[in-house]
């Protein structure tokens, strides 16, 4: 069974994992993730989920203190489309063997070429760019521009369309001239694209991509079956030793990213949060202690199991586990290629996804606010911070306990097996190998 599954899954996993476009999307989003986490902290301080928080600080710091914090959070959240374009064009350019800095510079220019630069205020038209085009709604346009501009740039580089400088010219100067003709070609193509759209009923590339791509994909990804499938595949792959989320994120991450940014924008504007299935939902309400929701497993190992090996590993891995690090369990128990533990390792996150999805749909817990917390934030705290409600923590606690009940019979099977081995080994002189006698 395991072999057959592996034969089916492996080629798909290899194809997805090696696909340069999907890999670049994933890597590109990773480039801007630190910025999102850092600025999220500023957003959270400005909107801390305690009643009377804003009023309390206004009394001390003055009525405009939240603007100081929103200046920082807006610096990233109002420009996620542009930043996605920057990160993905860098990663894609690098993965295509080009100079990442050149490809991301030309992608940003291409983005700006396609962005409307006139804003009508009353009867007057002024030269300005609306952040509407550069923020979350521009993410898919950013992805499209990143991929297309790099391909055009590569097209020219491959044909050696460059201005060759004589030997002795400093590398920085010659690299700059190398990029001249390929950059010119990219600019020309996007110039024509802009003209094309301005003559069509869409008027802008933004309208075209947003209507035909971003909205439909958001709808498809923003559903319980989609998130269940995401977690099922991710966990199943981990059981074969493959880093499942790396593969699944290459497909889902653009969608989750957009959904999360939508919630964040609404949170900033104190509007109703639109989506349930955000990146936060996945990270904070489906797994606890890392892939497989192994914090539940660790609690059973620590409190109920009797074999020395399991108990000892439980003791060593519990603290990292609380902070979402489960490497010691994945390789030390081990989880990989372990058919017994594979069953709850898949069931628990999938069941958590189902329960959380239903609970959020019923409105028992407020939707996640899109604030990206550091991934090491422990459960209970993360549930509260991401929803601004204690009910988020209660849901996490419930699912942690449920995970304990599901993991219990399976880890006990392993524990009994290890106990028998340890008893058998105790019949030997000593199970420990004494290197001191050498």
């Amino acid at each position: 069974m395991q072999k057959k599954l592996e034969q089916i899954l492996m080629p798909v996993a290899i194809k997805l994992g090696n696909n340069v476009v999907l890999r670049s999307l994933r890597d590109g989003f990773l480039i801007i993730t630190p910025l999102i986490i850092v600025t999220s902290i500023f957003l959270l301080i400005g909107n801390f989920p305690i009643p009377g928080w804003t009023e309390f600080w206004s009394g001390i710091l003055g009525p405009h203190w939240t603007e100081w914090f929103s200046a920082v959070s807006n610096s990233v959240f109002s420009f996620t489309g542009l930043l996605a374009c920057f990160g993905i064009s860098y990663a894609y350019g690098k993965n295509r063997g080009l100079q990442g800095i050149h490809t991301s510079a030309i992608a940003i220019i291409s983005f700006l070429i396609l962005t409307p630069t006139v804003v009508t205020v009353g009867k007057k038209s002024i030269g300005a760019i609306q952040t509407m085009y550069l923020g979350p709604n521009g993410i898919f346009l950013g992805i499209f521009i990143a991929l297309v501009s790099v391909e055009i740039y590569r097209f020219a580089i491959k044909r050696n369309w460059r201005i060759k400088m004589p030997d002795g010219v400093p590398p920085a100067v010659s690299e700059s001239f190398d990029a001249l003709l390929p950059s010119g070609l990219v600019v020309l193509v996007f110039f024509l694209i802009r003209i094309g759209f301005s003559l069509s009923s869409f008027e802008t590339a933004y309208n075209f991509i947003y209507t035909l791509l971003q909205q439909p994909l958001k709808g498809a990804g923003n559903s319980l079956p989609s998130v269940l499938l995401y977690n099922f595949i991710a966990m199943l792959l981990w059981c074969f030793g493959i880093n499942g989320p790396t593969i699944t994120n290459s497909v889902w991450s653009p969608i989750f990213f957009v959904l999360t940014q939508d919630n964040l924008t609404a949170f900033q504007k104190h509007m109703q949060l639109p989506h349930i299935f955000t990146q936060q939902f996945i990270d904070i309400f489906t797994t606890y202690g890392g892939g497989g929701s192994t914090l539940s497993l660790l609690i059973v190992m620590l409190t109920v199991c009797k074999s020395k090996r399991v108990k000892e590993l439980g003791k060593l891995a519990i603290v990292p586990g609380i902070f979402g690090i489960n490497e010691p369990i994945i390789f030390g128990l081990p989880v990989v290629l372990n058919p017994i533990i594979a069953i709850p390792f898949i069931i628990v996150p999938v069941l958590n996804t189902l329960i959380s999805g239903i609970v959020f749909q019923l409105g028992w817990v407020p939707y996640t606010n899109g604030v990206m917390l550091p991934w090491t934030t422990p459960p209970i705290i993360s549930g509260w911070l991401s929803t601004g409600s204690w009910t988020g923590s209660v849901l996490q606690l419930f699912e942690l306990v449920l995970g304990i009940l599901i993991y219990y019979p399976f880890i006990m099977m392993i524990d009994r097996q290890y106990l028998a081995e340890e008893a058998e080994a105790a019949g030997l002189d000593d199970v420990d190998i004494n290197f001191d006698e050498i």
Binding site: G17, N243, L313, G332, F435
Partner: protein, 174 residues
Amino acid sequence: MKVIVLLDQIQAGLGGKEKGDTPLGGKKLAMGAADTLDKVLKKMDSEIIGTFYCGTDYYQANKAEVNRKVAKMSQKMGADVVIAGPTYDYPDFSTMACELAATIQKETTIPVVGLTAIEKNADLIQQYQDQITIVKMPKKGGTGLSDSIDHALRLCKMKVEGADFTDFINQYCY
């Protein structure tokens, strides 16, 4: 076939990176990642007679002593073959595994099989591939783990039985 497996603290199930100071030790049973090997070995009428573990920081600070003791103990326990790994792409563990494997091969008659990923270890593999046989394996989270374990154990069997494994090496080793 009596097998000894060499692991670091993470693969032995003794904690994470922070436990790199774990001293050299061992148990006469399959620990951590060795348990995965043991399941396949049992189907081959073979067994793991010992798992040796050593923290990677401890190893760096006590190289000479650990190399001497591991080689001697492998001999004393009467192992038919020693498996160094699986090390995935952990560079410190891969270094320890290659160095220990080379010592065992040099100072005993016991055959050794390494199991290492090329990622982060390209120079190391280049340095050791002529001295010891290192089976190719995926990096942490990569595809093909199960196959690489099968290859390593098949190579162990060939070495113990004295079979010709030249073609096998060309196909599955560095």
